[in-house]
Amino acid sequence: MPGDLRQGRIVIVGASLAGLRAAETLREEGFTGSLTVVGDEPYPPYDRPPLSKQVLLGKVAADATGLPMRRDPDAQWRLGVRATGLDPVGKRVLLADGQSLPYDRLLVATGTRARPWPDPREAALEGVFTLRTCDDAGCLAERLAAGPRRVLVIGGGFTGSEIASVCRERGLEVTVAERGAAPLVGALGGTLSKFAASVQRAHGVDLRCGVTVTALRGNGRFTGAELSDGSRVDADVCVVAMGAVRNVEWLADSGLAASSQGIACDAGCRAFDRYGIVTDDVFVAGDVARFPHPLFDYQMLSLEHWGNAVAQAEVAAHNMVSSGPLRRPHLAVPVFWSSQFGLNIKSVGVPTFSDEVVIAQGSLSDGRLVAVYGYRGRITAAVTINMAKWLEYYQGLIETAAPFPPGPGAADGRPLVAEFSVPSNVPDPKGLFHGPTVALTGHLPDYRLAVGRPAG
């Protein structure tokens, strides 16, 4: 096919999950040219989800989560080297060691880093941690193993909650300080966040919601923190789990549409420049990307999901070496999992893109359930707790823009729909938008389509 790239030079910046999967896919797609992967961490690609789970639990060493290759991508690995800039006209990636790499196609997969504690002096106290890299996890695991008297976790999102879970499993006292009304509220909305709060308390977490941490205290060593409600938490370890910052600074002068929300790209993973014009040689994948999704009113999604990094990397790699009509859209419905307090929490769709929620199967009291989220009368997300085998069904409902609430008749002995639905209590997703409703069809990547679906 003319226009296909078989030879030439491809550079991938970011040597982690998305970077590795893209490199493998490029070879699978028949690319035989030169392939260079640049990563600022000194390690070969490794997996991060185990860091807040197996590694902190002490079951797996921090340096043992290296990702397996699905095939050898036969790449030149430039590890421990940071990319510092991009010259889009000269088509070169500038490196911290002064060298530069010419490319025909570039993939940006620089992901995110942990948001640091805002006060650098307090953040530098011994005993204050963030968790993003295997080095972070190794140091923190060591501290947890040494048996601190109390751990303070700042932030009740997924990572913070997983860390709190590990602490309890290790028998450590732990305080979680969360600014919102309950843990996971930003991700799962009101109903399930209340459930998450009760689970944490039942496991002995000292959960403080609706408070902010105003200062970290210590003299060289962290000794405790002040909270906005005037109280103080004495602890000897503090984990700052306040979310992630996208690694886009190196692209500041590149002319690309890079902001704190990530690098904007189209559904084919091609980066936009600052004017909203799509580039044809710079692609984006993984946590650093922002992309439009037809199922969610074409809003630009920024996901920090393992599965998205893999799926988007595969689509990006395919499109990097394929010409126009053979390119594919990245239409995967977002799926996320977290394991904490012995629960397997999975979500499909975008739970925050909702105005109502029902418990469709199971119950809060059983601790196993399916919550289904709707937005303006159609199903946009589902979350399972210890009921992952049903998730696929709800994914199908999301993909086909099925009406909310889901129809009646359940295999668990009562109507599928709770008698009433409750507000999902997430900030209303973007004002008043009356767009066409869209459904996805097809199972195979090359047959997947978004088709219009008349509302009604």
Partner: protein
């Protein structure tokens, strides 16, 4: 040998835990934990587990090795 389980696909069928209980473990009823760095004496069992996974979520392979080239 390294493994990674695509936990977005995994439905908690636990076939892997049955077949290689020293590498895979259920945490609670359904959440899967595993050792990404497979010990040598478990290679055979892990291959069996990967073949048996009903949703083919277990990726088996070698870690990237970076040689000076």
């Amino acid at each position: 040998m390294r493994i990674v389980v695509d936990l977005t696909r995994c439905q908690g069928y636990a076939q892997c835990v049955f077949l290689a209980p020293e590498v895979f473990e259920l945490h609670g009823e359904e959440a899967l934990l595993y050792n990404p760095a497979v010990p040598d004496d478990q290679l055979e069992r892990v291959r069996q587990a990967a073949a048996a996974c009903p949703v083919q979520a277990i990726v088996v392979g070698e870690e990237v090795t970076v040689s000076a080239r």
